[in-house]
């Protein structure tokens, strides 16, 4: 049984815009699933369709194996936390939390007890008599959660519940939300545009782009085996460096003017011998120092000009430039284009390495990064789909069926 099951869920607006395109996914009872994607990708629309606040163009929503397409939100027994909290401003905290119970006709004494219990879970016990305007942002957020959990719903929906909080409070509330989720155990669908929230909170993550599901899986899976270029760049911060490259017939990777031996040519990559590919490498997979230290033999090196060094204390981000063209359409590509346009070619950069906080490195230096070929990600230049490699799957210790080119999963 699934707590929530979406099947080919589609939303086409009257304007002809397709907000959600054949979205299928399931949430097991008690599971915490994060729906993540850039703004405008349709994640909130999908959530609102589950809640019953948005009509469904085609496809089905099942809650506890019951098709609820035509069921009003009132009768779906879902609770929802809104992005802007949507507290009832003229009601006290207690009345806000107890509103759903009052609607169900729960007797006053019973209602008071349950409101107090929910308030205790959320640390709101002293604030029950206050109005929303007398609360801080974090407290309001808690009231919004309280309003949802007091009903003991089967399904819990959250629409960017933390996005209005400041950065520090947001981190705090992340663990708070998870704690509450564990306490009530309801299947949760959580929408966010923040991949860090997704990675830290989700049992599973569904990545959405332009209304289409890109990949659905555990955080580690998405990080280590992104199904396509979009997921590869969306998950992880700083984002993955991606370049246009080629695999030559001898099995070396040609990246600008540099070559990185890939060792024995992987079966997945074999069809690409002598053809262009897109190669991706995560910032933390670039290492400084002599080739002997810690990395498997056969590691290649990548020479790069350091442009900027950003120290975060515990780690260091080295912004560099190599003579290869950036692939993908995300921030780095935009930044590279901007620098080129403004004529500041010496400031143009096209990659970031994440190094130890005490690494001795200065801007203007030319360094050689060591690269473990098994940590490289390859994507088809035409489709952006990941090229699945036996070696990378084996080395990361996860069994993945060999599929050649992995399309969108789900």
């Amino acid at each position: 049984m699934s707590a929530i099951e979406l099947e080919d869920l589609t939303k086409v607006y009257a304007t002809g815009v397709t907000a959600v395109d054949r979205l299928s996914l399931d949430v097991a009872p008690g599971e915490f699933v994060v729906l993540v994607g850039p703004s405008g990708c349709g994640k909130t629309t999908a959530l609102r369709m589950v809640a019953g606040l948005e009509s469904i163009t085609s496809g089905t929503v099942r809650l506890a194996d019951r098709v609820v397409n035509a069921v009003s939100p009132r009768q779906r027994n879902v609770a929802m936390v809104f992005q802007n909290y949507a507290l009832y401003p003229h009601l006290t905290v207690a009345e806000n939390i107890g509103f759903a119970l009052a609607n169900k006709g729960v007797p006053k004494t019973d209602r008071d007890r349950r409101v107090r219990e929910a308030a205790t879970v959320l640390g709101l016990s002293d604030l029950l008599g206050r109005k929303p305007r007398q609360l801080s942002g974090g407290q309001r957020q808690r009231v919004a959660m309280g309003r949802a959990i007091v009903r003991e719903p089967a399904v819990f929906l959250m629409d960017e519940p933390l996005s209005s909080l400041d950065a520090k409070l947001r981190v705090q509330m992340r663990s708070e939300v998870l704690r509450v989720h564990k306490a009530i155990g309801a299947a949760t669908l959580y929408v966010t545009h923040d991949q860090v929230e997704a990675m830290t909170m989700g049992d599973r993550i569904a990545v959405l782009s332009d209304g289409v599901l890109q990949q659905y899986g555990r955080p580690r899976e998405l990080y280590d085996q992104p199904a396509n270029l979009f997921v590869a760049q969306f998950i992880g911060s700083p984002e993955m460096n991606v370049y246009q490259a080629a695999v030559d017939v001898s099995g070396d990777l040609v990246l600008g003017s540099q070559r990185i031996p890939l060792g024995s040519l992987d079966p997945g990559l074999a069809p690409y011998a002598g053809r262009p590919v897109i190669v991706g490498v995560r910032p933390e997979d670039l290492a400084l120092g002599p080739a002997s230290a810690g990395l498997p033999s056969g590691s290649g090196t990548l020479a790069a000009d350091i442009r900027v060094v950003e120290s975060l204390g515990s780690e260091l981000h080295a912004v560099f430039s190599i003579d290869a063209a950036v692939a993908g359409t995300r921030e780095l590509a935009a930044a590279a284009g901007e620098a080129a346009d403004s004529g500041q070619l010496d400031l143009a950069y096209n990659g970031v390495a994440r190094l130890d906080g005490r690494a001795m490195i200065r801007s203007g230096e030319r360094v050689a990064f060591r690269v473990d070929p098994s940590r490289l990600h390859f994507f088809d230049p035409a489709t952006g789909a990941a090229i699945t490699r036996e070696t990378s799957a084996a080395s990361s210790g996860v069994a993945v069926p060999s599929r050649g080119i992995a399309g969108a999963v789900g």
Partner: protein, 326 residues
């Protein structure tokens, strides 16, 4: 230091006495003043500000002069109203005598106090009815999409533009057929139709009742009526009171409709009753009615001023504070 006594400041202990209510109000006023920009910073010259202030002052006098005249002349006898200076008092002081006449049936033309009662009844029924209908309709038009909702709204707006005089004959004929002549319902039912009220409520509901709040209430299992009464209506309250005031004043001052439908003076509202008196005084030589007209005019406006002062407390901003995160 020349003999000045320095009062030692109380040490900042944790339990400072809570400021009194008056003190809190004073502080709030001061804080309010702090936020106001001094006139110099408006970018206007002193002279301009003075000139505009003078103009505003003159306009205020111009507006208040009739009320002052009413107040002064309500104390005079019939003769003095015509023979003494209009903006000063004259003996004998006749206020209470004239006032007592408001409670009598003068010359068989009707009793003022009865007209006042009629007016109050029509105004309350019509005003409350108009406000209720406007609130429902405005909320409905602002927050629900249904077939024809836009057309309906435009028709209502168009209703604003039709002067009631244009409808005299059809209205009278319809009323005659519906037996609404000399019926209070003939007065009250049309008064409950307020296109301007619907328009104001729609606009107000649109800005004061966020869609997310309605969605949240739906998910919380509230029915649409409960959402309206428990969530939307409290948030629309300042707008509701505005419409209530406008509607009551409109009925209170309505002359044309009651003139059309009432032909017995016990049903008259103040407007028509005073009109009758005025007509008698001017055309039938009943000059003894002039002091009554003045007094009647004065008493007529007092309830409206009182109503405005009472409702004023409820116009406050910030209804939505704390509900919606930026």
């Amino acid at each position: 230091m020349t003999g000045q006594v320095l009062t030692p400041q109380a040490p900042p202990t944790g339990a400072a006495p809570a400021p009194s209510r008056r003190e809190r109000r004073r502080l709030a006023r001061l804080a309010e003043q702090e936020r106001e920009i001094p006139v110099e910073l408006y970018g206007l010259r002193r002279g301009t500000v003075t000139l505009l202030t003078m103009l505003a002052f003159l306009f205020a006098i111009f507006t208040l002069i009739p009320i002052a005249w009413l107040l002064i002349n309500s104390t005079k006898t019939q003769a003095n109203i015509f023979e003494t200076f209009g903006f000063w008092f004259a003996r004998p002081f006749n206020f209470f005598h004239t006032f007592s006449l408001l409670f009598q049936n003068v010359d068989g033309y009707g009793t003022y106090i009865q007209w006042l009662g009629n007016t109050a009844l029509y105004a309350v029924l019509g005003g409350v009815g108009a406000t209720a209908l406007s609130a429902f309709a405005g909320y409905g038009l602002a927050r629900f999409r249904f077939r024809g909702s836009r057309v309906a709204f435009y028709v209502i707006i168009a209703g604003l533009l039709v002067p009631i005089t244009a409808l005299t004959i059809p209205l009278y004929l319809t009323y005659a057929k519906a037996h609404l002549i000399n019926s209070i319902w003939g007065m009250v039912l049309p008064s409950m139709i307020s296109p301007i009220g619907v328009y104001l409520m729609r606009t107000y509901a649109d800005i004061s009742v966020p869609r997310d709040l309605i969605d949240a209430a739906r998910i919380d299992g509230a029915g649409e009526l409960r959402i309206f009464f428990r969530i939307a209506l409290p948030l629309m309250m300042p707008g509701v009171l505005t419409v209530l005031l406008i509607s009551i004043v409109a009925v209170w001052n309505n002359y044309f409709l009651p003139l059309l439908i009432f032909n017995i003076n016990t049903k008259y509202p103040l407007t028509v009753g005073l009109g009758l008196w005025s007509d008698r005084a001017v055309n039938s030589g009943n000059a003894e009615l002039y002091p009554l007209l003045v007094m009647g005019g004065l008493v007529t406006i007092i309830p409206l001023i009182a109503l405005f002062l009472i409702l004023q407390r409820y116009w406050r901003g910030g209804m939505l504070l704390g509900s919606i995160a930026n």
